[in-house]
């Protein structure tokens, strides 16, 4: 076991002890696959070489937890179609600017003359609408439950203030159906989950219960520091050793078991489940995304503007889908690091710093080399 990265940890001693205990917990000859479903975890794991502290029996599998990554090509095309309307100021988080669509990215649309502006918060987009009453301001609303409440509250405020030149292109997704789809998929046998800390801040720990109850897999909602992830793995392996299947909260210093009721209320007031929604790599998953409630149609970009709404296949060379499902590792993709790099991404997983490919490209080539040479161990 390499100790190269231990010194970077908040407490090298604790990391060493946890790593040693994980090694003891791991049954020799058994191969453990533990999936983390948050891009923040993926980033932390690669940057801090967490995998190098784990015994060869324990494999971390990166799930579909990066919200930028899971938006399919067709929706990105729709976003660009809206952005290219002359009356529209299209506002977006910075990460979405570079996501490749059928005909370039939003950044390319901007260079062709579209008014695309990066914002930090949906409330900044609302301010742009307030300041530009003769323009139509559209916000590209994306993200898991962590960012959905911010969209919901911005929408409620737009309505309360009577701001009519503001609308949302809603692409919010929910993590639970994606986890269910992965558990249902025959491609992958998982032993447990590191649960998403920030999503759980909003939805709490209870929605994860079905994983323990119906699938008999441990879930440990965990924080983002490397020590948190190590402790999460430790808790998953402890449950497996004891034959327990429970939802545990490693991140209780931030996450309440009941989540944030005010956030859930704001979401429920403004949005409802779509019948189905396409995820990059995972295909269509029923009831896995949100749209605005009909009473907010005046603020719904999908109602106000005609969008192509066409399903578009990923570029042939791109295996982002398999990376998102955890079926292959980033470096196993044919174009990884050659045709596809953070500077010139082909797939979304290489765009966001939380995408598994970008995280591995930036850090893992160094931190994960040992494992890369040994891995992958087939289940």
């Amino acid at each position: 076991m390499s100790m190269r990265f231990v010194d970077e940890y908040r407490s090298g001693e604790v990391a060493k002890r946890l790593a040693a205990e994980i090694e003891e917990l791991a049954e020799p000859g058994r191969h453990y696959k533990v999936m983390e479903v948050c891009g923040g975890h993926t980033h932390s794991i690669y940057q801090h070489g967490v995998e190098d502290l784990l015994p060869p029996e324990v494999e971390l599998v990166h799930g579909p937890g990066c919200p930028v990554c899971v938006i399919p090509m067709g929706r990105q095309d729709d976003a660009i179609a809206i952005a290219e309307r002359p009356e529209v100021i299209f506002t977006t988080f910075g990460d979405m600017m570079r996501v490749p669509a059928s005909n370039g990215s939003l950044l390319d649309a901007k260079s062709r003359g579209a008014d695309v502006r990066m914002v930090y918060s949906p409330l900044d987009a609302l301010k742009i609408a307030r300041d530009n009453p003769d323009r139509q301001v559209v916000f590209f609303a994306i993200g898991f439950e962590t960012t959905t409440p911010s969209t919901a509250i911005t929408l409620l405020r737009a309505r309360a203030e009577g701001i009519r030149n503001f609308s949302l292109f809603a692409n919010h997704v929910t993590i639970i159906p994606a986890i269910r789809a992965i558990l249902d998929s025959p491609d992958l046998r998982l032993d447990g989950f590191i649960g998403p800390g920030h999503v759980a801040t909003v939805i709490g720990t209870r929605p994860f219960r079905f994983i323990a109850r119906d699938w008999q897999r441990p879930v440990v909602v965990s924080g983002f520091e490397p020590l948190d992830v190590l402790q999460g793995v430790h808790m998953v392996l402890s449950q497996l050793r004891d034959g327990r299947y429970e939802i545990e909260n490693q991140y209780s210093r931030v996450v309440r078991d009941a989540g944030n009721p005010a956030a859930m209320k704001a979401i429920g007031e403004t949005m409802e489940l779509r019948t189905t929604f396409e995820w990059r790599g995972l295909g269509f998953i029923s009831q896995s995304a949100l749209k605005l409630r009909p009473e907010f149609a005046d603020w719904d970009a999908e109602v106000l503007y005609e969008v192509p709404g066409v399903r578009v296949a990923d570029p042939k060379a791109c295996q982002c889908g398999e990376v998102l499902k955890g079926v292959i590792k980033p470096w196993e993709c044919k174009v990884f690091g050659t045709a596809c790099t953070p500077e010139h991404p082909i797939g979304t997983c290489m765009v966001s710093s939380e995408g598994a490919c970008a995280a591995y490209y930036n850090y893992g080539r160094h931190a994960g080399r040992r494992r890369r040479e040994e891995a992958p161990v087939p289940a």
Binding site: Q47, C66, G94, S121, D124, V254
Partner: protein
């Protein structure tokens, strides 16, 4: 956009719209605190919060804020980018 960044509430700006000024690594910007107004998680001036896209999402203690900030600094570029974006923000 997914990073939760720690900030300290330094001033209440607009009670009606739940807008407060938070200080994040030396940058002072308005954030929405409407999701943290009830029970033990209600926040006021002096409290530390984790901020996502301009919204305070959870109340944390000072030690958690400090260690989270150290962790984010260790991430390098993504945290710097997030701070740059926050600096451009002008929530009212």
């Amino acid at each position: 956009m997914c990073l939760g960044i720690p900030g300290q509430i330094v001033e209440l700006v607009d009670f009606h719209h739940h807008i407060a000024k938070a200080e994040v690594s030396g940058v002072r910007r308005n954030v929405n605190i409407g999701l943290l107004t009830e029970g033990p998680d209600a926040v006021g001036v002096g409290d530390w919060v984790l901020i996502h896209v301009g919204f305070a999402m959870s109340k944390i203690d000072e030690e958690e804020a400090r260690s989270t900030r150290e962790f984010l600094i260790s991430l390098g570029e993504p945290f710097e980018a997030e701070l740059d974006e926050l600096e451009q923000s002008s929530i009212e």
